[in-house]
Subunit: 633 residues, 2 copies
Amino acid sequence: MQRSIATVSLSGTLPEKLEAIAAAGFDGVEIFENDLLYYAGSPREIRQRCADLGIAITLFQPFRDFEGCPRERLHKQLDRAERKFDLMQELGTDLVLVCSNVQPDALGDEQLLVEDLRLLAEHAGDRGLRIGYEALAWGRHINTYQQAWNLVRQADHPALGVILDSFHTLSLKGDPGAIRDIPGEKIFFVQMADAPILVMDVLEWSRHFRCFPGQGELDLAGFLAPILATGYRGPLSLEIFNDGFRAAPPRQNAADGLRSLLYLEEKTRLRLAHEAQAVDTLFAPPAASRYAGVEFLEFAVDEAVGARLASWLERLGFVAAGTHRSKAVSLLRQGDINIVLNAEPYSFAHNFFEAHGPSLCATALRVSDDQAALQRATAYRGQPFRGLVGPNEREIPAVRAPDGSLLYLVQTDDTGQSIYHSDFHLSAQARASGGLRRIDHMALALPAEALDSWVLFYKSLFDFGADDEVVLPDPYGLVKSRALRSPCASVRMPLNISENRNTAIAHALSSYRGSGVHHIAFECDDIFREVARAKDAGVPLLEIPLNYYDDLAARFDFDDEFLSELAYYNVLYDRDAQGGELFHVYTEAFEERFFFEILQRRGGYAGYGAANVAVRLAAMAKRRAGGGRKPVL
Amino acid sequence: MQRSIATVSLSGTLPEKLEAIAAAGFDGVEIFENDLLYYAGSPREIRQRCADLGIAITLFQPFRDFEGCPRERLHKQLDRAERKFDLMQELGTDLVLVCSNVQPDALGDEQLLVEDLRLLAEHAGDRGLRIGYEALAWGRHINTYQQAWNLVRQADHPALGVILDSFHTLSLKGDPGAIRDIPGEKIFFVQMADAPILVMDVLEWSRHFRCFPGQGELDLAGFLAPILATGYRGPLSLEIFNDGFRAAPPRQNAADGLRSLLYLEEKTRLRLAHEAQAVDTLFAPPAASRYAGVEFLEFAVDEAVGARLASWLERLGFVAAGTHRSKAVSLLRQGDINIVLNAEPYSFAHNFFEAHGPSLCATALRVSDDQAALQRATAYRGQPFRGLVGPNEREIPAVRAPDGSLLYLVQTDDTGQSIYHSDFHLSAQARASGGLRRIDHMALALPAEALDSWVLFYKSLFDFGADDEVVLPDPYGLVKSRALRSPCASVRMPLNISENRNTAIAHALSSYRGSGVHHIAFECDDIFREVARAKDAGVPLLEIPLNYYDDLAARFDFDDEFLSELAYYNVLYDRDAQGGELFHVYTEAFEERFFFEILQRRGGYAGYGAANVAVRLAAMAKRRAGGGRKPVL
């Protein structure tokens, strides 16, 4: 497909936008009129710049409030159109977006509107130009594509067609089904925008909260499928009005935009395949892998930090299970959990440590097909990574996550031979002392503006799903959390952001100088046994106020003894509507950077204890306010 | 009145909140349950801390989802209530807020609800406690105060009354008139919250966008007046759920809260007086002055900057009109405009210069009664300022603006003797070369989180009004603007904020290291004459792209010659719906800090040229991107 984006979707001056659009790999650009007004050069210079960059000008937009304007202004409006036609010819584009009249005094008589559109199309057609008519969701009389098509059909002029925009239809809960009734050649252009579902004024929603396909909640594949079914093969163009995008770095944002179109194409291809239709021009990456959890987590450390972190982990029940054959890398294990501490100089991990301090530098996902997974990731413009590999060591395919850390793709071996055998001296006698079974989830702290980009990355490259956003109160501001999960939920990653400066998330970010893991949760079968063991071993647990347990007593039928046990071990409790239960406990932070959670799920509890996040954040804030903490070990 | 605030309105830990509330001068506090849950000490410790701080605990809240709960849970819910009653007695408060049930399975039978409330009141009454029942706007069955009062009236128990919350009524466009039908002694508590008018889900609106009285658009005096008419004289309490407040410094925010209550009391007192009613306990400051424009603007400079700024101003048509008798201060004048350049060492201005660089350090307002104006300002907790005054020099009353700059209150002298005669050696021959007549407006750049605080400051201390917020696109993010204006609009101050890092407003803020004047607009009678003169004098004007004028040509019936003149002089044009016209032109920035605007209004144009802000911001961004600018003079 021809992939296009409107200049209004990006921040910066017009030349900055055009360069970002070309660099991202788009084929075309819609020129939003204001971007041109504010540009100091001529339209011809823009035409030349686009030609130099290899992008087509797919559309000029918008031309407003024409059809149905009061009769005494019609002549003046036609003059205005002719001036814009001049501009289009200088720009070298033949298509203008005319959006439905929103003026309070707009006339609504159907025949009059048909005649106005035909008149405009005649003027355009005389100059070899075309009119694309689009229904705005808040148009005075015309606000659905069905109405727009009805006028265009009656006007019946070759220079007149409709423009379809996903937001304008889906925001009003419109049914895209009737698009199939429009002949493909009468659809002149297609604009795609996603959005979170918000109960608010549709104009405000559209102007401030649109986002790239895959970042919101609209069914865009369900909108695009009937368009392609008509035979339409013109541009797919992103038109995103978003407050955050207006301030985001344009290159990164444009790259996200292209990825979002690829994602939409794949989803639409699958949808059409389901209906036994095929559109060859749609993006077709290898299917996503099946996932079987996290194979290992790798921390960037130096020798001293590595020793201290290993000591923490051993107190948490891990065992030192091996050392790397050729590198300063050690392996700790417990249950199905593998943690790698990488202190190798002149390595990726070392660079990561230099930049971010002690931090999670790699996550290894167990995939059903590592080569297909890598191909899919790179097809989605993921950046593959090849590290240094020693003789006889195994090379694991990897791509970079948005924060620069690595995502290894580990194909589980049919032989049952673990990936560690080739690279590590393993200690045969090593037995973990604890009963932690698996990595339940990794929570990341991200800059607020990065959340949508991360969600799109995992959705597209890895076919992860994203839960709805949850808002959580930190004593010093709100924290927002959105959890990613692999199909079947064997990998779970809550992403946390904060727009305020003094929250736990903000502190984590400033400590990392970038994104970073905030905490790692381990699942066990017996919370009290694990916590008792950890406590005895000297793991510092986050203290929970007794008032919390008084409230639990008021809310649930616990006997006093059980409540005392919860309180003694600082165990938090949550119960979902179906009776599923979560027991969980947090450690204090390891060197002010990240902390660990031990949890037990019962009865199908699927969440992350959102009801208890506020008390945890308050306890963490109290620890921070308590001044510089002394190292625990 | 007893002035109170809910802990949820402020950020921080519970002790931090209580200290801020006491410091602001509140009489009482509502303890929000979660704040207690997250606090590591006992309820008794909170009781003691409040006693030590001299604030009463006016209320404990909330107790949720009691009345109409499914019958099998009623017993458990009563148990839960008893546990909360224990807590209240430890806290030493006798009133609990019970909000209407929001559960999908809540029962709606009226007699059943009446009986449930009576039952709860009996349990509370037995312990000397009281139940205040509040209708949430999103309650399952009960969502208006009329419904709540209907149940309370029928339950007819001395320990049961209603709690009224302005948001829950006004958000649903409810009529507060029927409050007069409730006996004053059955109103147990009153919560006040303002909000901007937003078309969105009322629960989301309530949880994230409430604000202090006077910062939003609800008619709170119209809500409070009928309450007081019932004879209610209990606490007025602020309960504000606001994302920004959750992150704001609690001391400053609590001070704003108290000021907002005073403001509400004054407005309500005036409202009641209009109805020939009087409530003696309401705040009664001196009435606000009448204003007659800006007497002078004072810039903090040093000798070198002062010379360069004086040179700019002279090119703009000002004349050096005098020097101070005892200080390194000079006066420039043109028309009715007085500009003071203060380079005096060891002065307030000098300190301001050291902190913020060249900047506006004082604004003098012409008032009808300077002493009353000062009394009013200090009654509203404004901070009066007394500077050093030389012998025979005039002392001008002043208060500090929120950014630490000064607001002088200059009473216009009946003798016609200007305030400058006593303090300045004035040059009798000085004649300004330009035709600028008066200061039209001063635009300020503020940190985003400071806007509401500034609006409240000017509304309360000075009785200014605030226009609706306007959103304006900078190439690198959105800018929001809200204009303050004195009654009769002789003083106008647009306040501009930006949540993004790279906009013109953000650059101004980082340059000032604080708030600061962004530009100053001078009004004239003949824009072309003034601009031609300024251009000839070498004033650097901001260049506007020619494409802007092509668009003007398409939009308006200007002849080509007139358009060429607009373009030649970089004059921007706007026309309002009534045909009022604005012509305006901008200078480039003086040393990257602030700039000037010359404007001409015709036909009653009352705005600030919002339609042209985007092109101005784009032109400014281009200048910034153009690299370090060479000094112009």
